[in-house]
């Protein structure tokens, strides 16, 4: 029976499972507040009543990484803190995302000294960077909205989007195919058609 012939009730619609999972995930982000400095104050303000992070489904701050899927690193991270950060990140369950909030977490900020990590993305993966010193709550909310878009757009129910090693392998395989035209064609359907046309010879 063709899809068009299905008689669905009005309150039922058809979607993809990935899309449904993404919709659920993006609207119930549970942040893990890794607040080490003044950005943490803005993070608290974001969660408080005036800015009200609950409007975006991300108000449930949990202090146990086991219950969280969004790490918000707010503030500078010193070398001695970095193993703690990494351990907490590894304790969070998949799928998980990371927001680097503020200049210090993203780049080290003004603290270019022997003791301060120059950007947490050197040591853990980061999905969103929030500029500012410290960023206003609106900026953090924008980052969460952008992250929600990213989850809806790229997410998969099995977490294939996190398989960066697999992606690298596939890219490597393309490079090792050693035919530059084939590499371009793998991404370019127009070129594919032109190559196919050239292979079958000119058609009068």
């Amino acid at each position: 029976m063709a899809m068009n012939d299905l008689q669905l009730p009005e309150n039922v619609f058809v979607s993809r499972l990935d899309s449904l999972a993404n919709w659920c995930r993006k609207n119930s982000l549970w942040p893990m507040p890794f607040a080490t400095a003044c950005c943490g104050i803005e993070l608290m303000a974001t969660g408080a009543s005036k800015h009200d992070l609950a409007r975006f489904g991300a108000e449930v701050f949990r202090f146990s990484p086991r219950q969280c899927d969004l790490m918000i690193v707010a503030g500078r991270v010193v070398m001695k803190m970095l193993p703690v950060l990494q351990r907490i990140w590894q304790q969070m369950h998949e799928p998980k995302w990371c927001i680097s909030m503020g200049a210090c977490a993203s780049t080290g900020g003004v603290f270019d000294t022997y003791a301060v990590v120059q950007g947490i993305d050197r040591f853990i993966p980061v999905d969103m960077y929030v500029p500012g010193c410290p960023p206003r709550p609106e900026q953090l909310i924008q980052a969460i909205i952008d992250l929600q878009d990213k989850i809806q757009r790229e997410g998969t129910i099995t977490g294939r989007e996190f398989d960066t090693a697999g992606r690298q392998l596939r890219k490597r395989a393309l490079v090792e195919a050693a035919d530059p035209l084939a590499i371009d064609a793998a991404r370019n359907p127009v070129l594919q058609r032109q190559l196919a046309a050239a292979a079958t010879g000119p058609q009068s």
């Binding site: 990494q86 270019d112 120059q118 050197r122 040591f123």
Partner: protein, 169 residues
């Protein structure tokens, strides 16, 4: 009116009587002594017995390439008497290599962490310290970062950690 502590003439007189002439100077009403690293422990114990019951701070200055400096490290002991409100600064100068001085933990237990901090930051060894570990930097840190010849951005210590990517997290 700035606070000017009571004079310490009586203390200096007793000190001179026991240890001979001691190099001292006064700046804005506050007296500073300079003693040799050999005499330091005995002088400090004498001062503790003479009423300086509060060790305010133990710290250090690196005089590398400092104009007019004769020795490299200057230990600073800030003492106070809670009974008379007298203040006294005791300085001990040390040199490379292996700068070391007797620990004052037996005199003032408060010196424990202060000396650990100085060891961590300047690499001054405190002989007789009960637990001379780093206080601030990670234990595997290999240098003493407040020395003037230590580069501001470090010697690569902050790159030693494992990198966690999406594939193994």
């Amino acid at each position: 009116m700035p606070f000017v502590p009571p004079a310490v003439d009586d203390v200096l007189a007793a000190l001179t009587e026991r240890f001979g002439a001691v190099e001292s100077s006064v700046y804005r009403g506050q007296t500073q002594l300079v003693v040799s690293d050999r005499d330091a422990f005995d002088v400090l114990r004498h001062l503790a017995d003479a009423g300086f019951d509060l060790l305010v701070d133990v710290t250090c200055v690196d005089y590398l390439e400092y104009r007019g400096a004769r020795r490299r490290y200057g230990m600073v002991y800030l003492l106070a008497s809670t009974a008379t409100n007298q203040r006294l600064t005791v300085r001990v100068f040390l040199d490379d290599p292996e700068p070391a001085v007797q620990s004052v933990v037996p005199i003032w237990p408060a010196a424990n962490w202060l000396e650990r901090e100085v060891w961590d930051m300047f690499g001054i060894r405190f002989i007789g310290h009960p637990d001379l570990r780093r206080l601030m930097m990670p234990e595997e840190f290999a240098a003493h970062p407040l020395r003037k010849d230590y580069p501001l951005q470090g010697r690569g210590e902050r790159h030693n950690f494992p990198v966690i990517t999406r594939d193994h997290s």
